[in-house]
């Protein structure tokens, strides 16, 4: 994509907010590598959709949802870590994906394809992004308690198993959202990098949400603008900017750490 209309800009912004929020819990649950690999599960769906002459977005979404169900079911059955199962599912998906899609289509799916969105795609993307944002904000407290302790969550009346599935589905939908502009490979990065920046800088969950959303929005909008100016594909520019923010967060860290240390030490020595 080299130019960007207002409609695409709104979709990109909604997608960035969804990615920032989903990323916060993906990063805190230490499923970053799994999350990145998981995005590749879209590939066989894209391949099949192209063979069947359907919209690749539908194929990607179906494959991602099926992948998340599969990972969730195996996880419940075997108690293997999400990371291990995703590793297996992702490799198989990549193999099947490369068998069903041709080289050029595969590159488009991985890095994003040029062209503007149809009205149906725009509506779908907006509704999906809002649904993901709504879910994370509504489930925030339950996700947070489950993250600290599964047992405490169960004792507090939280349906941990269904919450886990809902989160995986939200993740899958977010990846599918970004497929058009960033491609599945780069969408994984937009979920992980802003949230990682936020985890390094924030000291509370609200702070983390704000920084992750800010970083995702800044990278997406700035990236799309620079890409349009320089006639480059937007995906790589967006991810490069997010990466830049991450390195910036490393530079800022020593000063912030000192402040955090001072905050921690002053009022609570006697407890």
């Amino acid at each position: 994509m080299t130019t960007m209309d207002a409609r695409a800009l709104i979709v990109c912004a909604a997608m960035a907010v969804a990615a920032g929020l989903v990323g916060c819990f993906a990063v805190m649950r230490r499923m970053t590598l799994a999350a990145d690999a998981f995005s590749h599960v879209a590939l066989p769906g894209i391949g099949l959709a192209l063979v069947l002459r359907l919209n690749p977005l539908i194929g990607a979404l179906v494959a991602l949802l099926a992948g998340s169900m599969l990972i969730w079911a195996i996880e419940g059955k075997t108690k293997l870590s999400t990371e291990a199962i995703t590793g297996v599912v992702f490799s198989v998906a990549l193999a099947i994906g490369s068998l069903t899609a041709t080289g050029e289509e595969l590159i488009d799916a991985l890095f994003g394809a040029p062209g503007s969105m149809t009205t149906a795609e725009t509506v779908f993307a907006l509704v999906a992004a809002l649904a993901v944002i709504g879910f994370i904000l509504k489930a925030r407290d339950r996700l947070l308690v489950s993250l600290v302790s599964t047992e405490v969550a169960i004792a507090s009346g939280i349906g941990v198993t269904s919450l886990q599935l809902s989160f995986l589905v939200a993740f899958a939908v977010t990846v599918a959202l970004g497929m058009r502009y960033l491609g599945v490979l780069l969408m994984g990065s937009l979920i992980i990098i802003p949230a990682t920046v936020a985890k390094r800088l924030a000291r509370s969950i609200d702070g983390m949400f704000a920084i992750a959303i800010g970083a995702a929005l800044a990278s997406t909008l700035l990236g799309a603008w620079i890409a349009a100016l320089t006639h480059r594909p937007s995906g790589p520019v967006i991810v490069a900017i997010a990466g830049g923010l991450f390195f910036l967060s490393l530079v800022k860290l020593p000063a912030l750490r000192l402040k955090a240390y001072a905050d921690k030490e002053t009022p609570t020595r006697d407890n």
Binding site: M28, R30, R203, T268, N271
Partner: protein, 242 residues
Amino acid sequence: MTSQRAAPGDSVLEVDRLTVSFDDTVILADLSFTVARGASLAVIGPNGSGKTVLFRALIGAIPYAGTIRWAPGTRFGYVPQKLDIERDLPITGRDLLRAKLTISHAAKEEALHALERVDLREEVLRQPIGSMSGGQFQRLLVAFALIGKPDVLLLDEPAAGVDAPGQQALSEAIRRLQQDEGVTTFLISHDLSVVYRYASSVLCLARQRAFLGPPEAVLTPERLSEAYGTPIGFHFHDDHGR
């Protein structure tokens, strides 16, 4: 696995032939007991005897065989054994308590009351949970469990890592909850003097066997030696106001 619902009269919990095994290892075998409403049950036993596993089965976190029947509508507060929290999680104590308030539809005052009970200062809540001391975090978990007015508190070594005055404050808080508000408490503890002082009955788990009875009957040198497989030098005195 049968669970919950049926009303067991004046008891809050009925456990019948509870068996828990992981792969081929049987952790709990054919365990049956009843807990009266408002009781204070201490669970003791050597390491690996299945105390934590029993708690996890009771809250429904692991699969089991047999029957666990809680009185209908029972609300739980659960304090797990020392949690391994990532140091740099951007979650503060306030975030955690706020989450519990939302989940249990409780008013903010409940959180303040709970903090008072565990003697934890509000300023500590501003810290990320990963940077709290072990004792502070443990008290936070107890405060978390108290929000939502639980009828039953399950405490798995709640005083682990808490300093001596803190331990005393915690024990007192738990005793007050049980005596003044009728909260049924289940307590795993290795401190037999605490058990003797606060428990109305003791469940001793040992090598797939279990004894249940009042502290005087279970905390005898003979029973303890049998349970722990080694002579235990525990002597209780009658001068501590039981």
